[in-house]
Amino acid sequence: MTTEPIVQLDNLRRSFTVRQKVGRLRRRMRVVQAVDGISASIQPGEAVGYIGANGAGKSTTIKMLTGILVPTSGRVRTCGYDPVPQRRLLAREIGVVFGQRSQLWWDLPLRDSFRILGAIHRLPTAEANARTEQLVDRLALADLLDTPVRQLSLGERMRGEVAAALVHRPRLLVLDEPTIGLDMISKERLRHFLVAERTEFGTTLLLTTHDMGDIERLCDRVLVIDRGRLVFDGTLPSLAERVALQRVLVVDLPEPRPDLQVDAASHIGSDLDGQRQRLAFSPRETTAAKVLAEVSAVTEVVDLTLEEPAIEDIVRTLYGVG
């Protein structure tokens, strides 16, 4: 028996007409293809990362599959529904977190947002309370329940947002840039929760991100979009085969030095006459700690930063290879 895909996109397109001023009175109409023929399907239980540069068409796709935007042509089905005409039915099956736009009631205590969302989803009070309690426990929100949302830190608020999107136990959770602006600990806590949630309930996950760490920790499949077209659809290891998903350890040394040579990483550049050096390594083969240990054996390290692979670079390499 084949199950129906949870998201099905067939040659999906969306164009926008942009009016540009030319001279004082004349206007020129320009048609921009935001999404230019995307086909893909996501099965229940999958965790899919959807990546691309800014303006590549990620948000437009998300809007179309959540029922906020009508496609110009092609077909989209989400949870078996036609998103825009059946928007409110679909809303009961999906949870959406727009990283930049809060769905919480900013002037009310966090607790109230969960109550109101439970009511909007028409959950029986006992069921809503039980689920909220579970989410509060797992996302460590208990101490924040009586705090008005506007007083929460970004990391606290994002945990609240994710809990809010899950109160009604959606089959599909869509996360638009869930970790943007978060510190490492907040990111890790959120990822850890999402992994556990998926394991327990089999929730399908679709997330857009600029952070390869999100993809590595959360997703077993990656879609890469560039200028409205799908340029890659496959597993993370197969993406890694085509592009080097290398991290870069940047170390600041007390004084200029010749290029560092270590086993675990390759030297890719020096600045300030060698006082700042850049070492690339593959996280599949080694860890930042090992690279750092090797460097520390040779010289003192004053400061360090770790750079994630940039999505823009990944897209560029995909083009170079393909």
Binding site: T66, L69, R88, R101, Q103, A119
Partner: protein, 269 residues
């Protein structure tokens, strides 16, 4: 487990809004006081006219005050419930509408319940007070008909003004920063509704009766209550059909709102 009833869902929604307003008592009462002051200042406008002329649009001060008060009560109720719809431009600008669209409740109801401005009831109090003061002096015959009109008019008026808010709300989707437009449309409509309709020039009178039925919110029912005939093109008996006008106003509102949502989902945020 059975699904939560719609009534219970709205009770939770509205209850939370009301609690949040009452959380800051001082601020709440200051807001109520301001709202009362706005109602009084508006009445002073009418009063000032009568300081100069004995009769305004065929009505004396008491009679005009009744029109003003009934209209104001209807508008205050509508403003309390639907006043939030004038925040649509800021929802559009901040991209917050997307968040509301992925919830299983109508957008209109979500916006309406996003803020229930109790303080706006201060104006309602002004209206009630004026009615209580002027009624004894009007020398009315209290038949079933006049009592019915006195009780029902503010609510039908609220329905009509509410439809104005919703119509303006729907049109906001077509405008860039349409806050000014809503104000002009809604407050203009309410202004027309609280004056004796006979002072409006004929085209405006027709516009604010048969297209946007503002004169039906207070003026025409008041004429019936006081047993007066209407001016040209505006027979008083139209006042009996106020609920029909309200249905018409909501039909317009529904069309404008639906067009607005279609515009939004078709053209993006």
């Amino acid at each position: 487990m059975a699904e939560l009833s719609a009534a219970e869902a709205y009770r939770i929604l509205i209850g939370s809004r009301i609690r949040s307003q009452l959380a800051y008592r001082t601020s709440f009462w200051l807001n109520v006081a301001t709202s009362v002051a706005v109602g009084l200042v508006e009445f002073v406008e009418i009063y000032a006219i009568f300081a100069n002329v004995p009769v305004f649009g065929g009505l004396d001060l008491r009679q005009s005050a009744l029109v003003f008060a009934l209209g104001n009560m209807g508008f205050a109720l509508a403003d309390t419930i639907f006043g939030q719809l004038d925040t649509i431009p800021s929802y559009l600008r901040l991209g917050r509408l997307e968040v509301l669209l992925v919830r299983p409740m109508s957008l209109l109801l979500q916006l309406v319940t996003s803020e229930v401005q109790l303080r706006r009831l201060g104006r309602l109090a002004v209206g009630v007070l004026i009615v209580v003061i002027v009624l004894p002096g009007l020398d009315l015959s209290y038949t079933a008909g006049t009592v019915y009109l006195l009780v029902v008019t503010p609510f039908v008026g609220a329905a009509i003004y509410g439809a104005f808010f919703a119509t303006a709300g729907g049109l906001q989707f077509f405008l860039i920063d349409g806050g000014e437009f809503t104000s002009a449309f809604v407050y203009g409509g309410s202004y027309a509704g609280q004056l004796p309709g006979s002072v409006l020039i004929t085209p405006i009178r027709i516009l604010f009766t048969f297209v946007f039925p503002a004169t039906v919110t207070a003026y025409l029912p008041s004429l019936l209550i006081m047993g007066l005939p209407g001016p040209r093109f505006l027979p008083a008996w139209l006042g009996w059909f106020a609920p029909v006008f309200a249905v018409w106003a909501w039909l317009l509102a529904w069309l404008a709102w639906r067009a607005g949502i279609r515009r939004f989902t078709g053209a993006g945020g």
